[in-house]
Amino acid sequence: MNYKANIGVFLCQCGNKIKSSIDLEIVKESFEKDSRISHCEILPYPCQTPGMDMITGALAEKKLNRLIVAGCESRLMLKKFENAFAALELRRGQIDIVNLRGHVATVSDLTPADKAAKSIKLINGAIAEMQTLVPTGQSYAQIDGPIAILGCGMAGISAARELSRKKMNFFLVLDTAKPDRMVQKLHHYYPGERSYERRFRDMVREVFDSEYGTILSPFRLVGISGVTGDYTLTLQSEPDETIVKYKAGAIIASLDAEMGSPGPQYGHDGLSVMIQPEMENLISGQGAPEGQIVFWVNDYETGQSEFAQLSAKSAWKMACHIRECSPVSQAIILYHEQMQVPLTAAERAINRKHGILWVAYDGNLRPTIQDGLVTFCNLTDHVERDLPWDYMVLSPVRHLNGKALDTAKILGLVHQEQKFLTGHHARVRPEMVGREETYLAGSARYPCDLLEALSQGQRAGSKTTEMLRKSANGELMLPRIVCVVDPDKCIGCGQCQELCDCGGIGVEEGPGGGLPRVVDPMVCTGGGTCAAACPYHALVLQNNSNDQREARVAALAGQLTPDETLAIGCVWGGLPAADNAGKMGLKYDPRVHIMGVNCIGQIDPCVMARAFVEGASGLILVGCNPEACHHSYGLDHAWSRVNVVKRLLTLCGFSRDRIALAHSDLNHPEEFVRTVESFNRSVAMIGPIERSKENVDKLNAIYNVIKFNTRIRHLLSANLRRPKEKDYRGDQQHALEYDRDFTAVIKEEFLQHRLLTVLENEKRPLNLQDLVASLNENEIRIADCLWSLVSEGTISMSHENRQAVYHF
């Protein structure tokens, strides 16, 4: 593989837009002398076909394997370059675009030569990143083996039929092997869908008779391991509890929500006052009941107003059926005034034919249920009316529990307790993610009617088929920017798995039990907060590693003059805001130097510390607005990390305002301008960091502690907000206590680190007074620290001239 970097830099004139304001000749001259660069060229438009042809020529001639284009917005142009040069083995990660137009050319009134100097700094950062890149080859997903359909929802049958028709092998894990029981379930989960019975029966029969399918019954899922294409499902047989293992290539989860009783306050007894599925059962058992049947759509009262229409529709369907079968019965639907009647014009005609009464009640007054009567407040005249009933049918309370929830938990689909399983996936650009490897269908995803559930199932079936076909043709490319675990460094603490929102980190079974050591590249979104949280740097984001970011930050910070600052923007918030500011021609302080990352959450705190070591006097991280973070909690995590660096800066006597986290919306570039200007002002007020030996030592100590001290890193990761948590809280209830404890740990570890560094550098036994002099710290704290180091055996103590001296 092309490990040795062979970098080409192409400078874009962008017609006249860059050429007129940046002296590109100076930039070119500087890079022509640079031994790290194999090729440097100015092109009028590198992004258009003529420019592309020139680049292709240079790539082939000089065998370039890294490409840096200094032009405009990376997020717009990157894909075009990647597509154009994919045949030349240049892939994602090997091409970088520096936005000179938006970040340098239009945003300040500097002279062309000064702008050229700023451009050189930004491009140098990109070069450093490219040099550190260790590109991986393009790998393809291998998916073979049957498709598993888990859960026993109605959508599963639909998915199975789709697979059977497309001649794909599958197996269904069901709790019953009897088609009749499946049809019975239809009434249970989807009341009112009686007219579908015959079609559903045909569907079930087609699936059960299919030559491509296997029915595993009665089994339930107890465990799952492996990655997309190679899953191992652990199933438990229901009667004798034997465990069997099955291999599956892909999984379709088909789960249905439960329908529960709204409780005794509604008089629910299952006999005369019942919920809709019970009524459905009654109809299938005894036929349509006679008398006055009142359907009360009480979803507003049970707090599920969003499902009121769904309940009303099934109530109406049941009412129609009752009127058809038993014309002597009366059907009345009682509904909340805020609900709109979910009937189409054609359905209204049917409604008139059947004479079903829709009665709205005043929502401010809750209807009261009595024996044989329901009292409600009439909407028009506000008079309390009594409605007699022989059967009262209430809306069910929809929730997840039982088997569906168990299965969802095993599959890692549960993201919030007591909520439905709506497809929750970090919202990033489609090409950045693999595909959702678990296709989820059915009403457990979000309550829906039968038609929707069946079409979800069918969609899941056809998508899975498409994925398997692609894999068989060798076209299913794995995303390139994903996490990988280095098993030599991983100790299996599981922090990453808890933090991961995409569910890509799985457990590998080994002799010592299950360790979270395997990443499913099809699921990983490349957010990278897990990698930044690893106490041992065992998780690496391929093609976009922490080392690369560190190298870039180091290169950029190293070139900054004392009054200049560094800004890191995420591609969803800060960077596009800066791009748009440039596009709109907004002017701001040119001393700020911007670089981009995919998510602020992927910045390891050691990268932040490195910026100060190398020469930055201020660092601002500009992310999205917290609630809009595309990688769920990347921004929350960044907040915690910034805070640790702030604590360390304060410990060393530097101002904590030198590092800041800011939020920016890409559509409001003027706010971004205010952000960086205000930050620059506050850093200017603090002034640059004096690069004395003592300060440099302290900054180095900060960097080393935050990078290598596993205790601090562990503590930091343990207190990051988990995807299932509602807000950031730390692991202690009391915010101040948590803060004090954490600061104490940092203080302790930091002092220990500095002590050890001094002892190591001096290479001779030192007494307390020497240490106090060289560290400039409180004597008692140093004595305490020395004592604990001696007692844990890290250093040893001996006596010289009746004084205790310490050495390794």
Binding site: P50, L76, T422, R427, N580
Partner: protein
């Protein structure tokens, strides 16, 4: 394969696959454009890049951004015929999107300050070139926004003109929009951040609203 032809009497050399606009820009000849962006395939929507093509004894006007180069042709980028067409285009644009500062400025360069066509909406900035929807489809790989309706009713919108959860709020459409219309329209596509993330949050937002 090399193709030689002339732009404004200057002999230029192009290769197969280049368009007239790309060749002209490569040789530093400026042609005004609005709906053209390098990241997507050209569509020839705005007709500003019209140039006069002479081949033998006859000439015609072509949209340079989608016209492939051809051996032996002669292109004129600033003839009277061409600027006449551009002035017409600017007048029509001024009637469609009078609020766009960029278009007003470009029109002023061609001496067009007002329009003879009726102005239906003086606050409109959008010229319905469809660049945003092309970027959404080709660069982002989604179709959160598209051109809806036809003819004079054509407009840019998300499905049902409502915030859509297909939108990932990457803002590519805002960055490419030539008239600045997308900036104000963007919030109507992506919706509120709380609406945007997942349906789950939407559900809880609704709960708050109803309780």
């Amino acid at each position: 394969m090399k193709i030689t032809f002339k732009i404004n009497d200057k002999t230029v050399e192009a290769r197969t696959g280049w368009t007239v606009l790309e060749t002209a820009q490569h040789y530093g000849i400026d042609i005004p454009t609005l709906c053209h962006h390098e990241s997507v395939t050209p569509s020839g929507a705005c007709r500003l890049c019209m140039v006069e093509l002479k081949e033998g004894n006859w000439s015609k006007l072509v949209a340079s951004c989608i016209y492939p180069v051809k051996e032996g042709i002669t292109i004129y980028t600033e003839t009277e015929r061409v600027s006449n067409v551009r002035r017409w285009v600017f007048e029509m644009l001024l009637s469609t999107c009078p609020a766009s500062a960029k278009i007003r400025q470009m029109a002023a360069n061609y001496g067009v300050a007002s329009t003879r066509f009726p102005i239906s909406n003086p606050d409109n900035k959008c010229m319905v070139c469809g660049l945003c929807s092309r970027v959404c489809e080709e660069v982002v790989g989604l179709s959160a926004i598209s051109v809806v309706d036809r003819g004079v009713h054509k407009k840019i919108g998300a499905p049902f003109l409502r915030p859509t959860d297909v939108c990932v709020a990457c803002g590519c459409c805002v960055s490419v929009c030539p008239t600045g219309a997308m900036q104000s329209f963007f919030d109507q596509v992506r919706g509120e951040p709380s609406m945007r993330l997942t349906q789950l949050t939407r559900q809880s937002a609704q709960e708050v609203k109803t309780s």
